[in-house]
């Protein structure tokens, strides 16, 4: 897992304004990636980064398959295990959320969590209120955010 995170990080660290989500789906037996917004794939640098991630991961594990989930896809990403996100205006605050899904998302304390893009992914039942940015997130205020 940490290896996949590192691979995604290394290929996306120079790209801003794109969120990358990752999940291994046992339902489809596929490694799933999702781009938010999806149409950022139209940018050459984003396309090349996604391809580089998939190539590197496939080279490490040739028997495994990778799929980039589209908007309104028949393949559904249900519980992403982490996301990688970099806000265009917040260069110094590198966002890297290591979320384990066990009924709720647990942010790493001390990171900046975003969130207009993030809320689009979350179930409206979990996230009923707009959160712009939670600085120095802790488990407590994150739970509050979801409960709001």
């Amino acid at each position: 897992m940490s290896n996949i995170q590192e691979i995604i990080k290394s290929h996306f660290e120079n790209l801003y304004g794109v969120t990358v989500l990752y999940e291994y789906s046992s339902l489809y037996e596929l490694h799933l990636l999702k781009l938010i917004p999806y149409n950022s794939i139209l940018k050459d640098e984003v396309f090349k980064a996604i391809r580089a991630v998939i190539r590197e991961c496939t080279r490490n594990n040739p028997d495994e398959s990778w799929y980039l989930v589209e908007d309104d896809d028949m393949i559904k990403m249900t519980c992403p295990t982490f996301l990688y996100w970099k806000e265009e205006k917040v260069v110094s605050n590198h966002v890297y959320v290591d979320a384990s899904y066990n009924g709720r998302y647990l942010p790493t304390p001390g990171v900046l969590i975003a969130t207009d893009n993030f809320k689009n992914l979350m179930s409206p039942r979990k996230l009923a209120k707009t959160i712009d940015v939670i600085e120095k997130a802790t488990l407590e205020n994150y739970e509050y955010a979801f409960a709001a």
Binding site: S25, L27, Y28, E29, L30, F47, R51, T58, P62, D63, E64, S65, W66, Y67, L68, D73, M74, I75
Partner: protein
């Protein structure tokens, strides 16, 4: 193999039209129609029959295994489908000169592979919305991959 792919695709459509009790089997036929097209393209380029294609996969797997661990992989084990899809992408990129086209085609087949796993091995059902998308993707593969085969054959002349 091309004829077999058409049969698989036709079966997928017929099963879809039979209703939801046949959606899972329809999805499996749709995936195999795409995989058989991939195999057809690779067999055409490599000048191999189906047996030769599988021998290529085993040989590649053993080479990688020897390089990585110094020992040979067990013959027959592993994921030949992932290998064919990976090679399909490389072949289409070579034929069309477009990374995007190659990626798009291989991703369509990968998504069908995922649905096929769900349809064959999991307790979940395939619903109407999914099967429509499955048939749509399989249709696009039926339209595009034979065209790449033709393009390859024309280039070779």
């Amino acid at each position: 193999m091309l004829e077999k792919s058409k049969q698989s695709f036709n079966s997928a459509v017929i099963l879809k039209d039979k209703g939801e009790v046949c959606y899972c089997m329809s999805a499996q036929c749709a995936y195999y129609s795409g995989l058989q097209l991939a195999m057809t393209l690779l067999m055409t380029i490599k000048g191999l029959d189906a047996e030769g294609l599988f021998a290529w996969y085993i040989s590649d797997k053993n080479n990688k295994s020897t390089t990585q661990s110094g020992s040979k992989a067990d013959e027959g084990k592993g994921n030949s489908h992932a290998f064919y899809i990976d090679q399909l992408e490389k072949a289409i990129e070579q034929i069309t000169g477009s990374e995007r086209v190659a990626f798009t085609v291989s991703q369509k087949l990968t998504s069908l592979k995922g649905i096929r796993v769900k349809a064959a091995y999991k307790e979940h059902q395939v619903d109407e919305d999914e099967i429509k998308k499955v048939i749509s993707k399989a249709t696009l593969l039926q339209e595009s991959i034979p065209a790449y085969i033709t393009q390859y054959l024309n280039k070779r002349k």
